[in-house]
Amino acid sequence: MQNRLELVRPALSSSQKSELEDTIKTGGFYKLRVLGGQGDHPLHVSIPARCLVAPGNKETFVAVTSYTGDLIGISYDMSQMQCDPLKRLSGTNEVTLAENALVTVTQAAAAPPVVKEAPTPEVKRTAPKAAVGSAQRRKDGDKEGEEGGEAAPPPDERTWLQRNWIYLIPMMFMLLNGLDISELAEARIHAIGMNGADRWTDLRKLLTRPGKVTGPGFEPDPALLEFLQEDARVLCVGAGGLGCELLKDLALQGFGNIDVIDMDTIDVSNLNRQFLFRMKDVGKSKAEVAAERIMKRVQGVTVTPHHCRIEEKPMEFYEQFHILVLGLDSLEARRYMNQVACSFLEYDDEGNPDMSTIKPMVDGGTEGLKGHARVILPGVTPCFECTLWLFPPQTKFPLCTLAETPRSPAHCIEYAHLIQWQQERSGDEFDTDNEEHMRWVYDKALQRSEHFGIQGVTWQLTGGVVKNIIPAIASTNAIIAAACALETLKLITMCSTGINNYMMYVGADGVYTHTVAYERDPACTVCSSSVPFEIASTSTLQQVMDALMADKTLGANLAAPSISHGSENLYMRGVLEEATRDNLSKSIGELVEDGGIIQVNDKKLVSTMRVKLKYSDLAAMQQ
């Protein structure tokens, strides 16, 4: 495991802050002073400046150490640059960092005006902490600064489950299917006869031979292949660039039953990478054509297509699969599937996830020459919502710029698209797939740009701006999809060690990959055991409901919530409304104990939201 070293930087004065901002913007370095456990000689290291300007911000990186404990480099989570070896500025043996310690520097929230040499964070604590636990503590505002710094061997503070989940997945599949491995072995003879004796020669070596670099619970057995062929159920979400590759990869990894869901039809611009489609298929359902092509090519595999929106399927549909593999290109669709996967998750009374309710999910994404592959085990590894920050916000132009002071070709295109269309064709609904509509926007944008003397409005750029097109090529999709398919195989058979839990690939400057274990957000509204919510115990249930709906995060998916506590209905919509209405005027403290969890249901939510109530007035009294 990776050890954690936590540092807290004193709050910066405004001039230090702007200094640091400059350093960051210009890709410069700032100095980190690490006070060692041995003696008081500080170790200075130079770190490429990345963030950490606003109070409360965290900067996380891996301090790469040699086997003797010397710091030899810094490696960032999302770094596109490889770390350069760092010079140690003085003496030897000042500090023994834990092996490849994960370091978090936190910008202090308060502003004690202690003037130190410009941005130099100070080590306040070197006792390494387990990733999950420490994240929780930071959130709670625990002062890291008050503990002494000793480099004691780190206790593994992860729960038993967090350490051992990987052992449980294959076991889980066996249980789910009520199958006994010896039964499978018998079924095998039949299967081999059907498939030809050595079609799976290569795959079989991996599944039937013992190894030491495997998932911890790996049991080599011919039955594993039979399990893949006969019993494993996998859903491929998307039949586009990644989806086509995933279907091919899964089929050639021995998966015998694959479902694929996609609402799209085939477009000409898909053909440079979606290799299952031909010119003559344009206009047909992606899921259906893809399924047909895979079955024609790989004998014995059954691919079941679903040509519809993911939201159209009931939860029972998703529940039947052992694993969900995502080949999507939109954030919205990923968030939806994430909610689906997390909706099956149940926690016990201690807040530990029930292993049998975990629906594993593998997700891939690409853009140009780069991409990512990740494994999501709801309740164990971060879900999509926990790491939403990985997705940068889209650029939007202010309307007044578009209307009054356009400066770039994109401004002209967006004016034609967002403003002129409304003014001149208000009856028509704009459709990005309608060539005439696109042509109209392009012509208007071109006219506008000529009027202002702005260069660069092209047909290609018009499409890019209006449709927010992500450039995509076959090779990157092939790499990412294959990485995802391999992780799917590993999760089900444990035939090799798995990604924990995110891998990025960058192919523009050489080949650079980075694999990193992101952390769960303990207050995640989608996958956490409960979301903390603070309110006075004297508030009425109505007030609690209003406050929940007004909350920026929690309220986003609430329209008409119903609330229950354990098995007791506190306030229900519909037929029970009348029976529970009286509770609305009761104080919440009467209905639910401090720290109690209420379940909130709403038609806008995919699954129940669990909210843990903390009474602010009681906390104040205790202090």
């Binding site: 400059d22 400066r407 294959a482």
Partner: protein
């Protein structure tokens, strides 16, 4: 072109029409026809190369049907190169394909001139000794070679050619080239023509931040001499001065967006970009001393060098584009025009040197068109040169870079992948000795582990890394793999190889400059500079 513009839309946004033109002229030769070869070809055919040729004499076996998507069951027993060629051609009607029913080593020995007809040679699933022979042939013919392998859960990729030069390396982020403290006369004149005291409120809120910074630095230098704000205190004072220029309504200062941008972009003034180290190296390269055989790239580099050090006081030519700034349309376009005009002058400056240099080496001064000079100059910050050792140098005992290998074996993040590199060499040596790869047969696993251990010891000793330990776990893992070729590993290596080939052909982006090892167990890659 219109239909293919539509079909290729998503990739034209990456490498442009000129990249696509290069791709559509490329003829690629592929040795081998297993899934590692076909997965590479699939990506290239989809992208629209001119043609491919597959060399292989093997027949389709049932194990091929378990890992190769470009084969149908009906092809069992037929020539594999022929079968995959037929299915590859279905992927893109604009691509031509052919095959040669001959074993790659045999063709290499009998007719090396065969390879002269291609833009690039891709060797798949070949062993070390064939790589070395192929490298000699390709170097002679001056054709780039790419070698890839999928071996169990391990991948290998290595390019070999003397030198690859890149003008459009397309870095993910670049520092803007704005020169706020080095105004040329026309820009200075323009900045001075805007009198902040004398304009109406609306215009005042729309003066581009670039102009505000130019005015601020002039004001600063009037008060502090010709230096830039250097200390944190000075920078804060500089920003405060900028803020104080904002107008007030009823005595209350109004925060204006353009001034906000000026304050938050002041670092572009404080830290103007210098010549990147890679570019400096190119300017200092001995190839900038031209001969009659110098390539256009080096003629341009030599001209750039003269321009930078003789005409431009050590600065690279102006890049010429500016970022968006809150501004009126007119003021922004005027500023944009001034930058473009100056960049054009710099292009002409370099072009003058190009003409003289071309003449001096006996070439037609017009043989490098202005459009090429322009592209080179605009990318002056992004120029890259990648050089490769021959495979023989990498592999022979007397020329192996033992110290780099030792370092890779010792550094924690590369230990496993450097070991896998040695193991790949060891399995080839094993195959040379025992005529099978370790772990080929289920019944000989333990025996092969022992034999492979001994082979690894001889490889490490020949590589000059002494008794460096390769972990037993990895040795056992290599035997477990038994030279299996898994579809997904073929797909990953084929994807990476296709990206690399596209980089070589389009001369865009930067290819891997060493030996790449892909470790599918840990999902990591390492590029070894050995």
């Amino acid at each position: 072109m219109k239909a293919s513009a539509k079909k290729y839309d998503r990739q034209l946004r990456i490498w442009g029409a000129h990249g696509q033109t290069a791709l559509e002229a490329a003829r690629v030769c592929v040795l081998g026809s297993t899934c590692t070869a076909t997965e590479t070809l699939k990506n290239l055919v989809l992208g629209g190369i001119a043609s491919f040729t597959v060399i292989d004499d093997a027949k389709v076996q049932s194990s091929d049907l378990g890992n190769n998507f470009l084969l149908e069951a009906a092809a069992l027993g037929q020539n594999r190169a022929a079968a995959v060629t037929e299915l590859l051609l279905e992927l893109n009607e604009n691509v031509a394909g052919s095959y040669v029913e001959e074993s790659p080593p045999h063709l290499l020995a009998s007719n090396p001139r065969f390879f002269a007809d291609f833009q690039l040679i891709l060797a798949t699933q070949m062993t070390e000794s064939i790589h070395i022979k192929l490298d000699q042939v390709c170097r002679e013919l001056q054709i780039p070679l790419l070698c890839i392998r999928s071996y169990g859960l391990v991948g290998y990729l290595r390019a070999s050619l003397p030198e690859h030069t890149v003008i459009e390396s397309k870095p993910e982020s670049t520092l803007e080239d704005l020169r706020f403290n080095k105004l040329w006369p026309k820009l200075k004149e323009y900045a001075e023509s805007i009198d902040l005291e004398d304009i109406d409120d609306v215009t005042h809120r729309h003066v581009p931040y670039g102009v505000l910074l130019m005015k601020a630095v002039q004001q600063w230098q009037k008060e502090h001499g010709s230096t830039l704000p250097a200390t944190a205190k000075e920078k804060a004072a500089f920003r405060a001065m900028l803020k104080s220029w904002q107008r007030s309504v009823d005595g209350i200062p109004v925060e204006a967006e353009n001034f906000g941008e000026a304050v938050s972009n002041a670092h572009k003034l404080f830290y103007p970009p210098s010549i990147p180290p890679e570019v400096k190296q190119i300017l200092e390269d001995e190839r900038t001393s031209l001969t009659s055989t110098s390539s256009d790239f080096w003629v341009l580099a030599a001209a750039l060098k003269q321009f930078v050090y003789e005409d431009n006081s050590g600065d690279l030519p102006l890049e010429g584009s500016i970022p968006d700034m809150t501004s009126t349309t007119d003021m922004y376009l005027q500023l944009q025009r001034l930058y473009r005009e100056q960049a054009d002058l710099d292009i002409s400056g370099v072009e003058t040197h190009v003409h003289v240099l071309l003449k001096s080496i006996g070439r037609n001064p017009a043989s490098i068109p202005r459009s090429t000079v322009s592209a080179f100059v605009k990318n002056a910050r992004n120029l890259r040169v990648v050089r490769y050792r021959t495979l023989e140098e990498e592999l022979q005992a007397e020329t192996v870079r033992s110290s780099a290998l030792r370092q890779a074996l010792a550094a924690e993040d590369t230990t496993a992948n450097a070991s896998l590199y040695l193991l790949l060499r060891a399995v080839d040596r094993f195959q040379g000795t025992y005529h099978r790869f370790p772990g080929t047969f289920d019944g000989e696993l333990e025996e092969d582990v022992a034999l492979l251990k001994a082979t690894v010891a001889s490889v490490t000793s020949d590589s000059g890394v002494g008794t460096a330990a390769v972990s037993d776990d990895l040795i056992e893992e290599m035997v477990r793999f038994g030279a299996s070729e898994l579809h997904v590993i073929g797909a990953i290596m084929g994807g990476i190889a296709a990206q690399e080939i596209i980089k070589f052909i389009t001369r865009q982006f930067v290819p891997v400059g060493g030996t790449l090892i892909y470790n599918a167990m840990a999902s990591t890659t390492s590029v070894l500079r050995i």
